[in-house]
């Protein structure tokens, strides 16, 4: 199976969905940068798992869902959606904003989770350690600051987005700001409930993350009960893109156990 289709979540709105592979299902929740498309990371995982990557409502090409105004709304949206999917034992992977949404889902109800993997998750703040400001960075600075490997950044910058992609980026940026502008990329009420994440949890963080510093891992390690943490070297904010092999090694080992 290899398709991008629409789906109707209960009461709410259709989104693009990348769904491929077979085996135990993995739900990947993308970050504030938007729908990632068919990354090599997903293709690799599809060899052993069924991978589902929905585009969040209000992002990119997905229709307007004005009732979704904060991350808690997205958590409830996905709780409904997961229920509707009817897949038992779901491995959930969330990157950045997607990690924050995954954590907000899990503190509410992680009974359908076989495991949770958080890749450089937003959602929790460590006082005294400033984050990068992706809203004041220019598009070029953003790419340069999101990746450790500046050759990779240069490759991405060399590509001019199509007009359609540029329009989708404007929508994505707007909803990202709605969810993460203030407080900047965290929910002050989340940290105290992290003990409710009772499923096995993997935390991966790029050592050179300039948006959400790797030191933020400590707040998660301190509160999430069954958590394994790995720091990935020579890596910025998107380990699954920048260090795909290392990320896959950690993730596969973790998934084999759970």
């Amino acid at each position: 199976m290899n398709d991008t289709t629409s789906l109707n979540a209960p009461r709410i709105h259709p989104a693009r969905l990348l769904r491929e592979g077979g085996g135990a299902p993995i739900l990947f929740l993308h970050g504030a940068g938007g729908f990632p498309g068919r990354l090599p990371f997903f293709a690799e995982l599809a060899a052993s798992h069924e991978i589902l990557v929905p585009e969040h409502p209000n992002f990119g090409a997905s229709p307007d869902a004005p009732e979704l105004r904060n991350v808690a709304d997205y958590a409830y949206y996905y709780l409904d959606w997961i229920k509707q999917l009817g897949l038992p034992r779901l491995h959930v992977v969330g990157h950045s904003l997607g990690g924050w949404i995954a954590a907000e889902i899990a503190v509410r109800d992680c009974s359908a989770f076989a495991s949770l993997t958080l890749i450089a998750p937003a959602g929790v703040r460590v006082k005294g350690i400033p984050t990068g400001d992706n809203f004041i960075w220019s598009p070029e600075e953003s790419i340069r600051n999101l990746f450790h490997d500046q050759n990779l950044a240069a490759q991405i910058l060399a590509r001019t987005p199509t007009e359609e992609e540029a329009e989708q980026m404007i929508r994505t940026r707007l909803i990202a700001a709605r969810l993460g502008w203030e407080p900047r990329w965290f929910n002050p009420g989340l940290e105290k409930w992290l003990h409710r994440i009772t499923c096995p949890t993997l935390l991966l963080w790029g050592a050179q993350d300039r948006l959400l510093p790797a030191a933020y891992a400590s707040a998660w390690s301190a509160r999430v009960p069954h958590l394994t943490h790995h720091r990935i070297g020579a890596c910025g904010h998107s380990p699954h893109v920048e260090q795909t092999a290392a990320t896959l090694t950690h993730l596969r080992a973790f998934l084999r156990e759970h």
């Binding site: 809203f135 004041i136 404007i170 707007l174 909803i175 700001a177 709605r178 502008w181 203030e182």
Partner: protein
């Protein structure tokens, strides 16, 4: 014609080399560059400049609000308005405006304006704005809720001013069990409300609504844009079923007057170029944060002005004069420029910024006196003549 003398209060003795090394003189420019002793002198001379407007015959003197920037030293413009109330007797004092969405308690704005209205015995004019894009960076307020918060805060302030309290206010962003401000406003039903704007379609529609008919002041725009936006307001009013009055239309621009065009241009060049390149310049990310404009308006703005916005700090006096963004010249030239705008739009409000950028006091003072003596009477007489006929 109603003439307003308007001031931004820029911090003039700025280390320009360091300021130009930053992405903007907003938000990120270190306040280490602010020297309080210099700043104290600036406040004194700027307040003098504004107060002088009364004896020179201006109808209105005006201040406004900006945060965390060398562009303007008035994060709390009501403090300056309060000082001006004590320094003047007859002139109207406009605060154009307060940035409604940036506050968590808009009732404080209703209260402060009510105090000023009482203290001045009804001499204040208020202005409501959303704040400039950079101010969503410097206050942390979410720009994607800017329009919602503006409309709610406006409704709340109007309720506080016009409905005997206590009343209740139920919003999405603002909720009050008790709306019951002391003091009440002095003017009946409330002080005049101006809407300074860069010309967004949403703002024009909203301000021209028959229930509001708020005077609409186009700021810092080319002559062509000012004409287009003011006529858009007229058209919107017609669609609403009424004819906009000239008193509903205004133009806010930097103005400089000297004996000859050559002298005026020579003396105003540094002020104008530093205004646009040093003080006003912001990156697109700062000026238009996500959601500050609707996606449609943002896309249209980037299509129309994208090139200019992506290349900040390239303004020249010649370009600013050619586009009509800055007005500088002999009294005759300046009169002609204003008359031409009046013919094209029917406007009856000129908001003249008579000090701008690094322009020193002695030039600003002389230009202001010439503007008052040799430009304003021409139009004020015209109104009187028209009224007599």
């Amino acid at each position: 014609m109603r003439f307003t003398s308007f001031h931004l209060m820029p911090y003039r003795q700025l280390d320009q080399k360091r300021a130009y090394a930053e992405r903007s003189s907003w938000v990120v420019l270190s306040n280490e560059l602010y020297d309080p002793k210099v700043g104290a002198d600036e406040y004194e001379s700027y307040i003098d400049h504004l107060a002088r407007g009364e004896e020179l015959g201006f109808d209105v003197i005006a201040v406004n609000e900006h945060h965390q920037t060398a562009y303007g030293m008035m994060p709390a413009p009501n403090l300056i308005a309060s000082a001006l109330i004590q320094r003047t007797k007859r002139v109207k004092i406009a605060i154009i405006g307060r940035a409604l969405p940036l506050v968590s308690n808009p009732l404080a704005i209703a209260e402060e304006f009510a105090m000023l209205d009482n203290m001045s015995r009804g001499r204040i004019i208020t202005g409501f704005v959303r704040g400039i894009g950079s101010e969503y960076h410097s206050t942390g307020v979410n720009p994607t809720f800017s329009h919602e918060r503006f409309h709610e805060a406006h409704d709340l302030i109007l309720q506080a001013w016009t409905k005997p309290g206590p009343t209740q206010f139920d919003g999405d962003h603002y909720n009050f069990r008790y709306v019951n401000i002391w003091p009440r406003v002095y003017q009946n039903p409330h002080p005049e409300i101006w809407i300074p704007s860069q010309g967004s379609t949403e703002t024009i529609q909203w301000a021209s609504d028959p229930a509001r008919r708020y005077p609409f002041m186009v700021t810092f725009a080319s002559e062509e844009s000012v004409i287009r936006y003011l006529n858009m307001y007229r058209d919107a009013a017609r669609r609403h079923g009424y004819e906009a009055k000239g008193s509903q239309l205004g133009w806010a621009m930097p103005v400089y007057v000297a004996d000859t065009d050559e002298q005026a241009i020579a003396e105003a060049t540094e002020g104008a170029e530093t205004l646009f390149n040093l003080y006003l310049s912001q990156t697109v990310e700062m000026l238009l944060p996500p959601g500050y404009m609707s996606i449609e308006s943002f896309t249209r703005t980037m299509k129309m002005r994208g090139k200019q916005l992506m290349a900040p700090r390239t303004a020249t006096m010649k370009g600013l004069m050619d586009s009509g963004t800055v007005v500088a010249g002999s009294p005759k030239t300046v009169r002609e420029r204003i008359a031409r705008m009046q013919d094209a739009t029917g406007l009856e409000n000129i908001i003249a910024m008579l000090q701008f950028g690094t322009m020193p006091d002695h030039l600003a003072r002389r230009s202001m006196e010439m503007f008052a003596a040799e430009v304003m009477p021409h139009f004020q007489d015209k109104v009187r003549t028209a009224a007599a006929e």
